[in-house]
Symmetry: C7
Subunit: 82 residues, 7 copies
Amino acid sequence: MANGIERPLDLLNNSRGKEILVQLKNDKQLVGTLLAFDIHINIVLDNTKEVVGGEVKRSIGLTFLRGDTIIFISPASSARKE
Amino acid sequence: MANGIERPLDLLNNSRGKEILVQLKNDKQLVGTLLAFDIHINIVLDNTKEVVGGEVKRSIGLTFLRGDTIIFISPASSARKE
Amino acid sequence: MANGIERPLDLLNNSRGKEILVQLKNDKQLVGTLLAFDIHINIVLDNTKEVVGGEVKRSIGLTFLRGDTIIFISPASSARKE
Amino acid sequence: MANGIERPLDLLNNSRGKEILVQLKNDKQLVGTLLAFDIHINIVLDNTKEVVGGEVKRSIGLTFLRGDTIIFISPASSARKE
Amino acid sequence: MANGIERPLDLLNNSRGKEILVQLKNDKQLVGTLLAFDIHINIVLDNTKEVVGGEVKRSIGLTFLRGDTIIFISPASSARKE
Amino acid sequence: MANGIERPLDLLNNSRGKEILVQLKNDKQLVGTLLAFDIHINIVLDNTKEVVGGEVKRSIGLTFLRGDTIIFISPASSARKE
Amino acid sequence: MANGIERPLDLLNNSRGKEILVQLKNDKQLVGTLLAFDIHINIVLDNTKEVVGGEVKRSIGLTFLRGDTIIFISPASSARKE
């Protein structure tokens, strides 16, 4: 599951084209397909949805997200509620 | 829909001259036509409108917006309420 | 209306000697004549007035304003209440 | 217990492949296996769990965590409630 | 009134030895004679007074003030209540 | 008591291997043995204890602490309640 | 009183070995003898006391204080309540 991750950005690189969950500092979450990122952790998501309490609140399509608003990023396939 | 986006700033470059939605850290949203941006994500919008709860609150015309106040930017054509 | 703006600072350059509206992060607005700015978006305004709810609260004359306190800057001629 | 720690990052280096506790600025805690880190203290955790009041709130699997959201990091084996 | 201000720091340079009003991010104001400043807008004031609601709250004499706590600086002679 | 301190980091250097008190921006205090620090004031503490109101709340053992969360650091031997 | 201050750090240099008042961003004040400082305004104080409402709350002896937590620094001899 964790093979091939030497540096933190390797996880983002492995997630290109896949769905990720992004936890923002303002307590909101975005879910979308990771298209691009840079060293500031600025990212572009496609098919982005804002999720509140597990429910989709709105669709915001293609989105450029500033890295300094992010707490964590997780591949959606690896996240499970308990 | 996501063709040609290698780096995050590519999405902004593709959006020049088009309407974008800008989500600010202070919970407000601006909608306007993207005229220019730089690597700090400082942007200039034309025909800018401040939107609160889906309604136009005021028109502020041409606007220089500091990048460090931005959470995300989305092409208006790709954003849909649900 | 938007001719000649290639980079964000072009809008500020075009606004020298003209009245601008400055929205601050602390929810206040300043209106004044733009005399000077730098790459940090530090600016100097003349005949500065603090505006709250559309009314002039106080005049503070010549003012040096730190860039990191600014959300957006708009030429006063392009801003209209709705 | 503290042998071999000359510089702060030595503790993170010694913790690769081991479970760590991460205290975030938003009062939440994450527990997971440290896979990678960089000089910004961006880290990647595997089998990440969000912990509130000593109880697992949710599992978020593989996670990229931005360094600027972290207060402290502690090897889970060295933390004891009292 | 605004002659000779090409760059923002020109206003501070013109204000050396004169009384200035400093608006801080914590809603307080300092009034004092500007002795020195640097590019971080760190400043030294003499005969500094903390002003709240137009009234002098306390005198703090010579003061070194960190630039990142400042919103705006205005020559006291140009500020008028309305 | 203050001999040999030319630069701020000299105090931290003198405190290696000794118990220090760390006041955090979130109003909490940590007490532990200083093992290492760097120029960002990232530090590693051993036998770390979180202290609230003078009482040990929990032990967190070895800890990597990010410098930007710190207000002040004091050798525990020099701190006295009054 | 203000002779010899060309640059802001000159005031700190003149205050070495003397008592200073430090106003912190968290509304607290520290009073102590200035031993050392650097360009980040990190400082070391000796015989440090935390002062709230003009009264000494606790003594914290030798203290390393991070510069980014400071609003202003004033030589104690120049501060007078009014």
